[in-house]
Each structure stands twice: as structure tokens, then as C-alpha cells.
Amino acid sequence: MSFEYLRGLALASATALIWAWSGVALAAPAPAPAKPSAAASAHAEPDITGVWERYPSPFSDDGDDETKLAPPPGNGPDLKEPYAGEWKALRNKRQAALTAGTPMVDASTRCLPEGTPGIMEGIYPIQILQTPGQITVLAELFMQTRRIYLDAAFPAPDDLAPSYYGFSSGHWDGEVLVVKTRGVQKDLQFYDIPHSDAMTITERYRLTAPDMLRLDVYVEDPGYLKTPYTFTWEYKRNREYRIPEYVCDHRLDVINPDGTVSMGLK
């Protein structure tokens, strides 16, 4: 836990609770710049601890058409056949369902974890914690937890059981945090994109300003992708926002036998 993070918490508690999702300015004066402490100087790595929200917001300000399927980030995946055709057909089916006002069930409606890399999309804010040997990502959405082990060797293939988040090993390359992930289970499909057991996700995190974080994602999967799938997400640190709990016990959605979702009525 860094000094910057503690300072952020102190600032938040010293002021009225402001749910500053969009970076609403606090009335309180800006605190004095942090003085280097023994703890801080012992860690030369950039301080990425804190609550982060996507910036700019992934949600349009001009009233997107809700019945339009959200596209995957970047230019989308460059899939080989038959995966490309199958993926397109599934996306078309989802689009047709949205147009009809009867959305199809997906992992998110079922409150399943987003896994890697979906958790980093930050639909709701995420919190990054730096502790010795580990970086932890906590997401508001579904209260997800992702652990990134620093300078850790990958388990042998036999010991790498497929999982939602896979196994993530990170290291600092100067100012850049490089994270490699393997072992993401095949039924976890980011934007419905199929992948193999050989998929490797490489993430590069770097601060572009004290409170701005950039993530470049590079997905390799030679069996499924003709070329690596790359995209970028950027985040703004929010020193006031406190992430609330998120449990799916009160959701209203009803998953119908035909695979569509409707709102349950009380």
C-alpha cells in the first residue's frame, strides 16, 4: 500500500463523500505534494495503486443506440476460418436478438467472471493494489479478483489448470509493467471470440501522467488468430471513489428457456 494510496483515502474521508465517477473536482484544496518516504524510495516502480476508471468513458455521450451490439475493442480479432465465420454468425445472432428487444443470455447476464482480459475493460471501476511480489486487481463488477504474480515462473503445462483469469506473471521493465497470461479456459470468450489453450495475452501498463494509466493488450493465438489481436485501454485514477459491493442476488433478470433474457417482475 503506497503513500499515494493512503493519502487518497485520507482525502476521501476528510471530505464529503462524493461519488466522483466522472472526476468531479473536490472542493477541498489539493494536498501538498507527497514527500518521499523510506517506504516510497524503497520501491522504484511506478505507483499504480488506486481506483481506476476508464478514460475516456467507453460510453458515448451522444446517446448510442442501445439496440446496437457493442463491438470488441481495437479493430476486432483477425480470426482464421472456420472461427471467423462462426464468430460472425454468433455476433449477427446477438445483434438480431437485440434488435428484437430480446437480448440473448451471455456470461455477464449470468454474473460469471469476466476473466482475462475482460476484467481490465473496467466497465465499472477497478482497483489495483501493489504489494510485495503481487499486483491485485479488484473489480466492482461481480467483485472480481485477479492476481498477478511478479517475477513468477509459469507452472508446467500439466500444472496449469484452465481458469477464468489464467495464470498471470508480471515484471517491471523499467517504467512498464509487463504481464503475460496463459491458461485462460476456452469457454471464457471475450466478446464471443474463441481461443485455444495456447493463447497468450501480453499486457503492458505504463503511467502516461501521474493519474493516467495506459494498457496495451497483445493477444497471440496462432491456431485461431491470423495476426495478433491488439487494443488499448486507458484509465484515470479516481482518488475519491470507494468501490461498493456487488452481489448478484438482487438481479431482476430472468433467463428464458429459449436463451433470451427478460426482466423479472416482482
Partner: protein, 121 residues
């Protein structure tokens, strides 16, 4: 990863007043964002304050309506609190109705017993 992108045209602009995801875990295509319905003097039966969505159950005439709202953070930013509504409160609401015609929708504005108007999206 269904991003919730609300509304179209004039209604859409007001829906996005809070400038943040209304909900991440399902699509809002089930609501008719081109229509607005209204109920006056409806009695609150339940006010549920939690992620993924706040929702309110009200009784108007003899029908029970379920109205979905934004996330608690979303709502708090618009001036709501977990105890803004209590069972028995009489409120006026405008909402985007369900496209399937059932008694429910997405709450747009609630007018509280004290006259205060709160945006729910």
C-alpha cells in the same frame, strides 16, 4: 461484455445525464427507449438498493410495477440515498416501459412525497 448504451435521440441525451454505465451485466434493449410512461400517486412496495441495479416496486391502481434503476453509485451521484424511498411512500414516476408490454420498465424520474425530483438514469 455488454456495454449499456442507452437511448436514442432526445430521450437518449437525458438518459446519459449521469455519463456512466447504467448497468454492465445485461442489455437494455428490453426497454422501449422511444416511449415514456407515467404513473401518479403510486405506492412504494419495495426499494432495493444494491448492485447490479437499484430497483423499485410500486403499486399503481391494482397493478404492481417493477422499475429498474441505475447502479447505487450512479444513483448516489444523482442525489439518491439508500433510504430515499420507503414502503408506503406515494410517488410519481416516469419510466421507459418494457417492450414486451409487461408492467415494468426503466425508471427515469421519481417525484418523492416531499416534491423532490430525482433522476434514476
Amino acid at each position: 461484455m455488454p456495454k449499456i448504451r442507452m437511448g436514442a435521440g432526445v430521450l437518449g441525451a437525458s438518459l446519459l445525464a449521469l455519463g456512466q454505465p447504467s448497468a454492465a451485466h445485461h442489455s437494455f434493449a428490453m426497454f422501449d427507449q422511444t416511449k415514456m410512461s407515467e404513473l401518479k400517486g403510486a405506492a412504494v412496495a419495495q426499494f432495493q438498493w444494491a448492485n447490479p441495479h437499484v430497483y423499485v416496486v410500486i403499486k399503481g391502481d391494482e397493478t404492481v410495477y417493477t422499475l429498474e434503476c441505475g447502479s447505487p453509485s450512479n444513483m448516489a451521484k444523482a442525489g439518491w440515498k439508500f433510504n430515499s424511498l420507503k414502503p408506503g411512500d406515494k410517488i410519481n414516476v416516469t419510466y421507459y416501459p418494457l417492450r414486451n408490454g409487461k408492467p415494468g420498465g426503466a425508471l427515469k424520474i421519481a417525484t418523492l412525497p416531499n416534491g423532490k425530483k430525482l433522476d434514476a438514469w
